[in-house]
């Protein structure tokens, strides 16, 4: 039983991380119906920056409160970097394709992903790099016989407030209202005076910011980064977004947690090497039987 609980705990923390990435997919998809293939690689670049900053600041030697402050700084800087990069890519690559057939932005996103990967290859080199352990490895739940260290706590501490901030942003601010309006009908939104391009840019920024934050946590939590990490992690996160109902923000969170649990449990009970196949098999089954996802609403194809 303890073993099972432990796996669930791992799954939850992993899932929170997946959810952060999934939000980037779901927000962009919700607003311009684009599967942003480059999102995973954007996060890889965020992790590159995080690693560079960690070595430049010599953070491995920091202790106590300084470490936590340093991590907060990393989250902020990498978030701004990824958000800004995402906005720039949207401006340069996707915006000119708004009226083009759907294939064009999708293929362009694959192109952007290639370019990001190449940048990451130069930044990190071809081999995987280890990300230093900054946080103390003290077990916080030793009394219950479970393993829950500062690293796991970090995931929760960063992810939960960001999610709350995001839902406040989307639900109760002017920008959030504009986002929801554009996502429902860009033309009508433009007619009532919403600057659609700016709202889309803001969405890309928010999605990128969450991705950048996720990249820091990823580095600190998994401790290994490499230029190819974007593809696999992006796919898992995308699966989570689809599972929850793409375009739905709570859906991405639920989907992320479910994917995290599935990964942890299948690694524990079936074998790590089958995890990828199981996650994607679930993706296919969900798409076939409930394409609108767990929390999504069905959309009708328009003429």
């Amino acid at each position: 039983m303890t073993f099972f609980l432990q796996q669930c705990l791992i799954g939850l923390t992993n899932g929170a991380l997946v959810a952060m990435v999934a939000l980037g997919y779901t927000m962009v998809y919700g607003i311009i119906r684009l599967i942003n293939f480059a999102h995973g690689d954007l996060i890889m670049l965020g992790a590159c920056l995080a690693l560079t900053l960690v070595s430049a600041l010599g953070m491995a030697g920091w202790t106590g409160a300084a470490t936590w402050l340093g991590v907060a700084l990393l989250v902020l800087l990498c978030g701004l970097f990824c958000g800004g990069l995402n906005v720039a890519v949207d401006r340069i690559v996707y915006r000119p394709l708004r009226t083009a057939p759907k294939l064009a932005p999708l293929v362009s996103a694959i192109g952007v992903s290639f370019i990001f990967m190449n940048v990451g290859l130069f930044w990190l080199g071809p081999a995987d790099r280890s990300f230093p352990e900054l946080l103390p490895a003290r077990n916080l739940l030793a009394g219950e016989g479970l393993q829950f260290t500062a690293k796991d706590l970090l995931v929760i501490v960063v992810v939960v407030p960001l999610m709350i901030a995001l839902s406040v942003l989307v639900k109760s601010t002017r920008l959030g209202k504009a986002m929801r309006a554009v996502s429902q009908d860009p033309t009508a939104a433009a007619l009532v005076g919403i600057d659609v391009d700016r709202v889309i840019a803001a969405t890309f920024f928010v999605g990128g910011f969450l991705g950048g934050a996720a990249s820091v946590i990823y580095g600190l939590y998994i401790n290994t980064i490499g230029f190819q990490m974007g593809f696999q992690n992006g796919l898992y996160a995308f699966t989570a977004a689809v599972l929850g109902g793409i375009g739905s923000i709570p859906g991405a969170v639920v989907g992320g947690v479910v994917i995290g649990l599935v990964r942890a449990l299948s690694s524990a009970y079936v074998g790590e090497r089958w995890t990828g196949a199981i996650v994607f098999a679930i993706l296919i089954v969900i798409l076939v039987f409930r394409p609108e996802g767990l929390l999504g609403r069905g959309t009708k194809e328009k003429v």
């Binding site: 119906r33 952007v112 370019i115 990967m117 130069f122 196949a277 994607f280």
Partner: protein, 371 residues
């Protein structure tokens, strides 16, 4: 790039100079000219009897694979991100039917036919439940399927040999004696045998695709791509049409897989059939021109040419000029491979979404959408 010469081209050709006449002929019948040139090449270029012959054979195999993908992405407009999985399924089925490890040990032609058909069947099995999905969801299903296939091939070691793959895949005609020489031995010794086999198959696939393009089914594919609702209103069953595209695509990809495994005499490891391969083939089709046979062939030639000719040449040139004494990957040409492909995709989508050698229908459709 019309297939039937228009009247004014003919009159031009009779009055024009011999050089113009030759050019006009090449433009009209590029296929025949290319086929003859490629058929004569091994007799003239001795290098094709060596490693180069093997490389060109692989190029032909990728051309076949890309033509298969073109059925789905080009004609029918369904984005397929897992074509390499079907390529792999074809290769592995073929290997299972021929390697000494298994009891089947079929002849080349039988094994190739069976595996192509079975690959089509697997394509149908994946397509039937998923075709009602919207475009980008279908893309994700094919991507996910590709990953599932790769992981399965890697992990089912008892059946697929895991990372070692299945080998040795016997050459075609092993044990078949023609005039005292073993045909299989000839295939194993001289790569030109495979060269001709692949060229012949490619020519066959091109002819078949041409016929399909203008057939009832081919026109239905395009109709569904351009407007599914309108096509259905005209009595075209979109589901059946899409399924047939799925099956055709898979069958051709499977056939390419058979040739691949046979020419390498191994299935290679499952990583040869991963997402990167799928994307590269997709890039070739998109760069060359969706729905265009010459475009697809050109796209593959460009991409494979980039990897096997241009990149090694540029790298050695950089080394010779001694620009890069430190050996930094920033200053090597092949280090920029991914970025160059990515940029090419973005630029093509932005400025020439119909590809380098567009099919006329696709060009018209894409430019109408821009207007």
């Amino acid at each position: 790039m019309t297939t039937s010469p228009s009247p004014d081209v003919l009159t031009d050709a009779t009055t024009a100079s011999p050089r113009d006449r030759l050019l006009a002929f090449v433009r009209e019948r590029w296929d025949l000219v290319a086929l003859v040139a490629l058929a004569v090449a091994p007799l003239v270029v001795p290098a094709l009897g060596g490693a180069l012959g093997g490389q060109v054979t692989t190029l032909f195999v990728y051309c076949i694979l890309a033509l298969g993908l073109n059925v789905m992405v080009g004609y029918t407009g369904l984005v397929h991100l897992g074509i390499a999985a079907f390529f792999g399924i074809g290769a592995y089925l073929f290997a299972i039917l021929t390697v000494p490890m298994y009891p089947f040990q079929m002849r080349f032609v039988t094994a190739a036919a069976v595996s192509a058909l079975a690959t089509a069947g697997i394509g149908l099995a994946l397509g039937a439940p998923t075709l009602r999905l919207r475009g980008d969801y279908l893309a994700i299903v094919t991507l996910g399927f590709g990953e599932v296939v790769k992981v399965t091939l890697r992990n089912l070691e008892q059946i697929t040999g895991g990372m070692k793959g299945l080998n040795p895949v016997p050459p075609p005609g092993a044990g078949l004696k023609i005039g005292g020489t073993d045909l299989g031995l000839a295939f194993a010794i001289d790569p030109r045998w495979f060269y001709y086999l692949a060229l012949l198959t490619l020519a066959g696939v091109v002819v078949a695709m041409r016929r399909l393009e203008n057939s009832r089914l081919g026109r239905a594919w395009v109709a569904v791509r351009e407007d599914e609702l309108a096509a259905e209103a005209m009595g075209v069953s979109a589901t059946r049409v899409k399924l047939s595209a799925f099956a055709m695509s898979s069958a051709v990809a499977g056939l390419a897989g058979c040739l691949y495994a046979a020419s390498l005499s191994t299935t290679a490891d499952p990583n040869a059939y991963d997402f990167n391969r799928s994307i590269m083939v997709l890039c070739a089709v998109i760069l060359g021109g969706l729905g265009s046979i010459p475009g697809t062939l050109l796209g593959v030639a460009l991409l494979v040419g980039f990897d096997t000719v241009l990149a090694p040449w540029a790298d050695s040139a950089i080394q010779q000029w001694n620009i890069n004494p430190s050996g930094s990957s920033l200053l090597s040409f092949s280090g920029w491979r991914l970025a160059i492909f990515g940029l090419a995709l973005i630029l093509v989508m932005r400025y020439r979404p119909e590809g380098l050698v567009p099919s006329r229908r696709m060009a018209a459709e894409l430019h109408e959408a821009h207007a």
